[in-house]
Subunit: 250 residues, 2 copies
Amino acid sequence: MTNPTAAILIIGNEILSGRTQDVNVQFIAKRLADLGIRLAEVRVVPDIPVRIIGAVNELRAAYTMLFTTGGIGPTHDDITSECIAAAFGVPWEHHAETFALMAARLGDRFNAARQRMATMPRGAVPIRNEASLAPGFSIGNVHVMAGVPRIMQSMFLALEPELPRGTPIAMRAVYGIGVLEGSIAAGLSAIQDRFPGLDLGSYPFKREDDKWGVALVAKGTDTAALDSAIVECTTLIKAQGVAPVQGEPN
Amino acid sequence: MTNPTAAILIIGNEILSGRTQDVNVQFIAKRLADLGIRLAEVRVVPDIPVRIIGAVNELRAAYTMLFTTGGIGPTHDDITSECIAAAFGVPWEHHAETFALMAARLGDRFNAARQRMATMPRGAVPIRNEASLAPGFSIGNVHVMAGVPRIMQSMFLALEPELPRGTPIAMRAVYGIGVLEGSIAAGLSAIQDRFPGLDLGSYPFKREDDKWGVALVAKGTDTAALDSAIVECTTLIKAQGVAPVQGEPN
């Protein structure tokens, strides 16, 4: 695939401690698929400068673009912004326009802590959004967003028009309740071989009524091939004596 | 901290496509904290051998132990096991005991696809568990588990007694509804300075009734210091004219 590629870096002690269930990856992943951007890696690192700086430089070099979430608030543990500056080797300084905007809106409440949120790597472009006065920012191919899902989503949507795009990555799925993976593996492998441009996946699941089933999922940019592959997967499930369930992947 | 460290490697096209919401990280993270093992990194990589092998070798060298989830089923996209063998530079071969066990239980259904699940890197020790006949396995400091949460959890619990332990990592939290991070940042930073052995985090949240609040979370192995730090955080919230809410971190 010649689609652009992306990575997500989650700066998140709260994810690593188990305190918080991340939901940002799934939101970003779905949006990226629609934009034709292939999400190729996700990392979660703790709020430690050397770890953040190292991961930013590795991932921004490896992929077309990098999204970070978390660590851009006003408190002592919000160190993403200065780490991005260090990663790029540029000064971390007041962003004049953002500084003026926040000062005008916040008045007396624009204290030293909040001024940190108007401080960015030199050359950064703010990601203004509807959910927060303090913006995220982009620098080079790195897009720095909040960790709070509602704010992150607003920032991502504001950013979307600026992102390079590829051919949308579509998915098709068919489900077989009571079908065991081990019984269809050979047939599925043969289908994958006939559609080398697609990613065919097999995902077992247990339903709430304790019945096992398997989801066969085809993913790729060639929708005609996707449709054909799913027809073959449907036949494979039927051959197990089971009525296949078509549906959106979920 | 001298506690052992860990990383999680998720082998998961289905996470990167946004099809599946990962829930394994949070489960493992919480268990590790209780065991006194510090989760220091999480990565998600696609089902591509060079990516899996590279990540396994990087992470097993960097941390006391590595847990992988996903890719150990019977289908063509389940390539974790042979990639682990490649990462360790050992043959990937039938595990005699597991092979015999599965053959006895499955009879005629023990086809080539299912035999893959009895095939492991030489030297691997199976992780037998209650949820699946096909085991996970450990080799060196790498523990290879299923991606389906119910099976992964069963494997992790079976593995737990074998893991090296440290001092349990505890958390305390106090919540301030209506408190803004920017107003308490300086005070919180001063508390962090007085408790250098703890991780103090500040996490804003929006409740269902649309009220913003902030969670102050202290994490560490010294429970007396945790209690003292949370008393100071409680005072900090009170100073904002807000009644603090004590509670388990959530």
